[in-house]
């Protein structure tokens, strides 16, 4: 019997009992389909996280006013305005720091068009640090920020809403009744990882925001809500973080033994931790789906045992006309293998469709890895051989005389 003989004979035999074959393969189909889907979803989520990290930059630290403690009770972040523009300036001297971007943020009313949006007070470095690009016009210049000029850069959503179909550059826009001149428009950035529209925003020079727009809400006139710091290379971030903490403790006159009044976070690390959770979940779900493969394999073994019994006489005839034990063994092994492989292939197709649908609705990139397909094929083959072995051996060990006498 050549391999192709065995293969066609196996297909023939499976086809002669179509319903049974389909039901038996179903266990493998579901198992493989589930594994492919879960791995693809996990990879998609991973890719999504990577995209976010790429957006926020992997060598960025953010510093926010830290938890103030009141008799031991934490009062939550930003409960005390401990950070100032001066702190931000001082940070520029820390070795390895390439850019520092302090910011204040608050809601403002846009008179023209009567919209509410967020105003963000920034310095020149902000766009570099946060990964924004200009689509039109220009960035603020140092002197404009220092002078507290009444100029703005519009987020793309605001630009479209307030100046539909016209060029906003040089136009006057009133924020809380204060007139500002539009200097530029940023390129669209899309949704944040939390689903907010990041382009619904107006940028103003930091000093202007502090003094003219959000002054009333700031506890100290030059306080900032957050400072983003860009390091030269990701590897140095740990050292920079330590140096920054030292600098701030020094500047804020915190005596040793007392807690920091600021918080330094490595944002990329947070997302990486999130990605780690996704990895663990993927692994867990894959393990659960693999159980289905195992159950499917047992189903194959069961049906193959039934098949061997039903075809006892056929086995006897085959042996009488010259089939050796290994011929019979191969026949049933190939049959089990064909069953599991066909199930595996259908499962792969099913899994890819499910992954596609999930990616489509979740809005993240579809990532079906070749390795997971190869793994699924290999695994279903292994299941077929492993669970087909015992029935095949049973068939091969039949006594031809007994088998021929079998009614």
């Amino acid at each position: 019997m050549t391999p192709s003989d065995l293969f066609f004979s196996a297909l023939q035999s499976l086809r002669s009992n179509t319903m049974r074959s389909v039901l038996t393969a179903l266990g493998i189909i579901i198992g493989v389909g589930a594994v492919i889907t879960i791995v693809a979803i996990g990879a998609g989520a991973q890719a999504n996280v990577e995209k976010v990290i790429e957006q926020i930059g992997s060598n960025m630290l953010t510093i926010s006013p830290g938890q103030a403690r009141d008799g031991g009770a934490a009062q939550g972040a930003a409960s005390r305005p401990t950070l100032t523009a001066e702190d931000a300036n001082a940070m520029k001297t820390v070795p390895g720091v390439t850019a520092v971007a302090p910011e204040v943020r608050g809601p403002v009313q846009v008179i023209l068009g009567n919209q509410r949006t967020n105003a963000v007070g920034i310095t020149e470095d902000y766009f570099t640090v946060r990964g924004w690009k200009m689509s039109r016009g220009r960035n603020f210049e140092d002197w404009e920020i220092d002078a507290g000029e009444k100029i703005v850069i519009l987020g793309s959503t605001v630009a479209e809403k307030v100046f539909p179909g016209s060029d906003p550059l040089g136009q006057i826009i009133r924020l809380d009744r204060v007139p500002f001149t539009v200097m530029g428009v940023t390129a669209a950035k899309g949704q944040s990882s939390f689903g907010q529209n990041q382009d619904d925003v107006i940028f103003v020079p930091l000093k202007t925001a502090q003094q003219r727009l959000l002054g009333g809400r700031l506890i100290k006139p030059d306080s900032v809500q957050q400072i983003a710091v860009l390091g030269r290379i990701p590897k140095e971030l740990d050292i920079i973080e330590r140096d920054l903490a030292e600098l701030l403790r020094d500047r804020h006159a915190i005596v040793p033994g007392r807690a920091d009044d600021f918080m330094i976070r490595n944002t990329a690390e947070i997302f990486q931790a999130r990605a780690g959770v996704v990895d663990v979940m993927t692994l867990l779900l894959t393990a659960i789906a693999s159980v289905s493969l195992l159950v499917g394999g047992i189903g194959i073994m069961n049906i193959m045992l039934v098949s061997v019994t039903e075809r006892t006489r056929e086995i006897g005839v085959r042996m009488a006309i010259g089939a050796s034990r290994s011929d019979v063994m191969m026949q049933f092994l190939i049959e089990a293998l064909a069953l599991s492989m066909i199930g595996g292939i259908i499962g792969i197709v099913l899994g890819m469709v499910c992954a596609q649908l999930t990616a489509h609705f979740a809005g993240w990139p579809l990532r079906i890895e070749v390795s997971s397909i190869l793994l699924a094929v290999g695994f279903s083959a292994a299941v077929g051989i492993f669970f087909g072995y015992y029935p095949a051996r049973k068939a091969a060990r039949l006594d031809p005389i007994e088998a021929l006498r079998y009614a």
């Binding site: 019997m1 050549t2 003989d5 023939q12 035999s13 002669s16 006489r313 056929e314 006897g316 005839v317 085959r318 042996m319 009488a320 006309i321 010259g322 089939a323 050796s324 034990r325 290994s326 011929d327 031809p400 005389i401 021929l404």
Partner: protein, 253 residues
């Protein structure tokens, strides 16, 4: 018939014991027989006489407990499973009472099956299987499945399967047992034709008129061969479509 040449089958004190709990059953209690090339031998005896055990041993489906079995001069008692399978494939053709065709494949594929185990290329298998089917007069039924064929036709397919590998020995176990008398006579005619061409045939039957086709009748009882009658000749009027029914003439080569 010469006693000096190599016999197709030679058994020397062939024994087979079965263990049934504490009892030992002597299914075959020492049988010595020699069957020459070209012989047509009938094996008779009541059930439990050991004739089936004898046939199973001749067909290399089983191995003796003791004694010797020489097939074409080779001692096969010591062969392992694989060697026995190859011997059955190359040298022995089986014809069963209930045909034992594989139900899901065509007559042609059934006949070609032994050649598949003989590892012949597919095209040659088909050619030779078609030729064998034509020899038994079923050239026009090649693509039929067993259920689409009558009992006699199924048995002819089975005979074609037995001869397709050009075996030295055909073992037929009650080949007419499941057929009506007329069809049975046809089947015996085909077997005789094959015998006329020099193929050795050993046939189990309990019908005397079937046994009369054979040139030699071995009678078994209680695990022993109690009679070995030769020269009975063929029953007058039995169909012998071609060749001369002279066993001696064929046995020479």
């Amino acid at each position: 018939m010469s006693r000096n040449g190599t016999a197709v089958v030679q058994t020397i004190d062939l024994r087979k014991e079965y263990r049934m709990g504490t009892n030992v059953v002597n299914a075959l209690a020492g049988v010595s027989v020699r069957i020459e090339t070209g012989e047509f031998v009938a094996v008779m005896g009541p059930s439990g006489s050991g004739k089936t055990t004898f046939m199973n041993l001749l067909g290399c489906l089983d191995r003796p407990s003791s004694g010797k079995y020489l097939f074409e001069g080779h001692e096969v008692s010591a062969y392992d499973h694989t060697d026995l399978a190859r011997l059955r494939n190359q040298k022995i053709g089986f014809v069963f009472q209930n045909f034992n065709l594989l139900p899901r494949i065509t007559a042609l594929d059934n006949v070609a099956l032994p050649l598949a185990y003989g590892k012949l290329p597919r095209s040659e298998r088909r050619t030779r299987a078609a030729k064998a089917l034509e020899e038994v007069g079923l050239g026009d039924r090649m693509d039929h499945r067993p259920v689409q064929l009558s009992g006699g036709q199924q048995q002819r397919v089975a005979i074609a399967r037995a001869i397709v590998g050009s075996p030295s020995l055909i073992l037929a176990d009650e080949p007419t047992g499941a057929l009506d008398t007329k069809t049975g006579v046809e089947i015996m005619g085909i077997l005789q034709t094959l015998n006329d061409r020099g193929i050795t045939i050993v046939l189990v039957t309990h019908e005397h008129d079937i046994a009369e086709h054979a040139g030699r009748v071995l009678t078994f009882r209680d695990g022993r061969m109690i009679r070995d009658e030769k020269g009975m000749g063929r029953r007058a009027g039995a169909p012998a479509p071609q060749g001369q029914p002279h066993l001696v003439a064929v046995a020479g080569h």
